[in-house]
Amino acid sequence: MSIQFLDTTLKNTTVLASGILGNNKDILERVYNNGCALVTMKSIGPEPRDGHNNPTVIDLGHGIINAVGLPTPGYTNMEKEWKDLETRDFPLSASIYGGSVEEYARVAEFVSKQKPDMIEVNISCPNSEKHGMTFGVHAKSAHEVVSAVKKVTNVPLIAKLTPQALNIAEIAKACEDAGADAICAINTVGPGMVIDIESGMPVLDFKKGGLSGPMIKPVAIRCVYDIYKAVKIPIIGLGGISTGEDAIEMIMAGATLTGIGSAVKTRGINVFGLVTKEMTRWLDRHNSTIDSIRGAAH
């Protein structure tokens, strides 16, 4: 099941979502060896940042709520990691964020010199006061960020979008017009809140957090469906995928690749291999191919 995606040949359609495990080369490689075709690093920001205090990640049974808060060593403090990654033999996507258009460009320029196979521009994180999502809810700011990044790098660009945009298709189109080579949708849904009724306290220290996992799949499917109608560039469909059947559904909505995050909790690191096997089995049983079902819901 080999797939061509932004000049890179991938062994299947599975992608490790940003912010899941991806903190060093060894663990990224382990995820790749467990069947994942494309691994994404934890989002990298302009300055060192600790993120929020715990509790930051809570399992709700039907999904996860998190407010990790974009911790990052800062792009200039990762010499060892970049050096380790030079000798990798797996496809790598580097996720970046900033607090201003200028910061996005600065981080992107530096990161592109480290030669990732692609750069994912995170304009969609709900867990920080001034980073991320604010840029992804308006077509104008999304366009500004992607254009600025495009100017400083030749590495293929993926724009990662938030479902909080009133019209996500319009944002995707703005990113495509600004030079994005692909869209990744979606980041977490919300922010939401969960209150512990014994103490009367929100369970997250940051109080609000983004939702992920099975409970958000219908939102992700709808977003990818809308985006597929609006753009020609390929889409990484992400949100609530835990089985091969979920991934097939995402491809029918219009996705080329299928991202996986929270399901690493429920099914383990080998979820990537499992999902691929289940997809192949489904396709065989239906005498179908990935290419023939892509966008089938339209």
Partner: protein
């Protein structure tokens, strides 16, 4: 949320908090303790019975000081148990337990679970001084103590005692250790030299506790999920063991800098 059901002050800086709830767990597993409006941190289970469990906390920084000053009926959040736990000894095994300071906490339920008639146990426990030794009355069997100031037992390191026991002709086939990482690394080296299987329990900054966020990765191992207990076969390949750890930001630093980190 659970109410603190009781508190045992072990010494001026260590206390065990008890909760009335049953947990199915393996020795070496941990829970995440949430004190609302303060923080949430991992603690190993130090005692478990049918309807009750306990965690033993050493006062270090802001959070642990708050934790040991909790009172009966205070409400806290508990998530877990998480992690893999120790691999228990088999009948006929001869084991050594090497604990430094609060490191006896995860090893204590292991000692509770072992059938002492079938497994030969040598327990070595070290601390700053005799007041800081843990669970002095909890165990009936003989223990070997050492203290930094010589106030009880051997004056010096637990590793001195381990070497001495091996030199005396004890043929251990398993060693379980928990304490400062530099101590565990020395224990591991001694075990390698004598061909003894070793299990250590590692500490890294944690967030989710269930192997998703990656805050605690040590090389390719996810400490909260694949660990916190690692055996010799994994330790041999673990370049970061006794060398580096990730700060809260994800920045990799030398272990000394990691343990020197204090809540701002």
């Amino acid at each position: 949320m659970l109410k603190v059901a009781g508190k045992q002050e072990e010494n001026p800086e260590f206390a065990t908090l008890f909760f009335n709830s049953s947990l199915i767990f393996k020795p070496g597993q941990f829970i995440m303790l949430w004190i609302p409006e303060v923080d949430e941190k991992p603690y190993t289970l130090s005692s478990v019975s049918d309807k009750k469990f306990g965690i033993t906390i050493e006062a270090k920084g802001i959070f642990s000081k708050k934790a040991i000053s909790l009172k009966k009926d205070d409400l806290v959040g508990i998530r877990g148990p998480f992690g893999n736990g120790f691999t228990l000894p088999k009948p006929g095994d001869s084991i050594a337990i090497v604990a430094g300071g609060c490191g006896l906490a995860p090893l204590a339920p292991l000692l509770d679970r072992i059938n002492h008639d079938r497994v030969s146990i040598t327990c070595i426990h070290g601390a700053r001084s005799k007041d800081y030794l843990l669970f002095k009355d909890r165990f009936k069997f003989e223990r070997y103590f050492c203290t930094d100031d010589g106030s009880l037992g051997h004056k010096g390191f637990v590793t001195d005692l381990l070497k001495e026991k091996i030199a005396d002709g004890n043929t251990f086939n398993k060693v379980y250790t928990c304490g400062p990482e530099i101590m565990m690394h020395k224990v591991f080296e001694i075990c390698e030299k004598h061909n003894i299987h070793c299990q250590v329990s590692l500490e890294r900054y944690m967030r989710c506790g269930f192997g998703l966020c990656g805050a605690c990765v040590c090389g390719k191992e996810v400490v909260c999920k694949d660990g916190p207990v690692f055996g010799s076969e994994k330790l041999r390949d673990m370049e970061d063991f006794n060398k580096t750890a990730l700060l809260k930001s994800g920045k990799e630093v030398a272990l000394d800098d990691y343990f020197a980190w204090r809540h701002p």
